[in-house]
Amino acid sequence: MADSQTQDARFAEYAHPDRLVSTEWLATQLEAGNPDGIVVLESDEDVLLYDTGHIPGALKLDWHQDLNDPLMRDYVGGEQFARVMSERGVGRDTTVVLYGDKSNWWAAYALWVMSLFGHENARLLDGGRAKWIAEGRELTKDVPSPAPAEYPVVDRDDAPIRAFKDDVLNHLGGPLVDVRSPGEFSGELLHMPDYPQEGAMRGGHIPGAKSVPWARAANEDGTFKSRADLEAIYLQEQGLDPAAPTVAYCRIGERSSHTWFVLTHLLGFQNVRNYDGSWTEWGNAVRVPVER
């Protein structure tokens, strides 16, 4: 495995430094012929972006087509997940590096879904697609055809890192992090700016939630802020406790995956669950408490 080499000095301060890789490190690995057999997966909001050019050797992992159940609002089951991984040449122990657009929202979401299936060796490319391109690194339109890998059918284990509506109702009074924009938190906006199709019947937030828009965890270039800066926001300013069970939510669970990643893997919180039903469920549900 590639563990020792992913320890970029900048990452050493984080709780789980091996969950991040830098663009420099990835470029070096690829130039060296990818000796450790890393699989690079691109996960974007825009379903065509991968096809316009991607990191050489990278394959597409689409949140809608590959990770969501086509009928029920839920994630795919163990068999479909195994097929999606196998087709991309990912085995159970393969090191997967995820990256994408929008400061890695969907890459973090994909990493979180992989974590539901217990795939431990998944990392984010710090800064994502935008940083790779800003640095003038190589892109290609060539789509690789990897040999299928053996991937076991494993049951999804939601309980440790995924919260459902009833879990959140039972959690009321405990720490909640609302990562949406300030207008969505206050209830002025029923949807995210520019995303009116994902609206809700009621505006506001879950009672007791703290407003920490996801982007506060990111630098201008999409990389994560330093541990000290993150602690200043989540610990000192918001008073969150790394030992206390915490729930993060947004609108459909993708921006809160980004915050879940920050709290869990960068700050070492012990029990963070992502409420993927988020405001599109809570803001449309009958008789759940709403605060404005």
Binding site: D46, V47, L48, D51, T52, D101, D194
Partner: protein, 156 residues
């Protein structure tokens, strides 16, 4: 193969709908990508003055559009030719692809032809499986704005 209703679409749009329907799902994405690449550049008068265009808020990425009705093209307003202009960033290829379909299918049609395009035309391109129905609503928003601007700008 997907059976797709095209009888009430303008011919150019119907042809695009048939082209998509004939392709397997992954190749539909490639065709959409081609449409995104073929979207014409904005003429200088809009590139230099983006505030003259209207933003389509239903799109998940910034998209602006404007229509022009050519008053010299016919005496009756309903027969006048309509030109369409779109602006979307290269990092939003799906949105650009939707714009490219509408440009190829509707540009230089008459006012009456544009106003007669059914509201659900965006669902006739067999793209729901490939890009998700949620994303398709952006194209619905574009079409409704094209029709509204055409109606407003063709009034005598």
């Amino acid at each position: 193969m997907t059976a797709v209703e095209t009888a009430d679409l303008p011919e150019a749009l119907a042809e695009i709908a048939r082209d998509f329907a004939e392709l397997p799902v992954p190749e539909r994405l490639q065709l959409l990508l081609e449409f995104s690449e073929e979207l014409p550049e904005l003429p200088e008068r809009y590139a230099a003055a983006p505030e003259r265009m209207e933003q389509v808020h239903e799109c998940q990425s910034p998209l602006f559009l404007v229509v022009e009705v050519d008053e010299d093209s016919a005496p009756e307003p309903g027969g006048r030719r309509v030109s369409l202009y779109f602006s979307a960033p290269p990092e939003a290829p799906t949105t650009r692809g939707f714009a490219g379909i509408l440009h190829e299918g509707l540009n230089r049609l008459t006012v009456d032809e544009i106003l007669a395009v059914p509201e659900d035309a965006p669902y006739r391109f067999s793209l729901a499986d490939a890009v998700s129905p949620l994303r398709l609503r952006g194209m619905v928003g574009m079409l409704s704005r094209i029709k509204r601007q055409t109606a407003l700008k063709s009034r005598v």
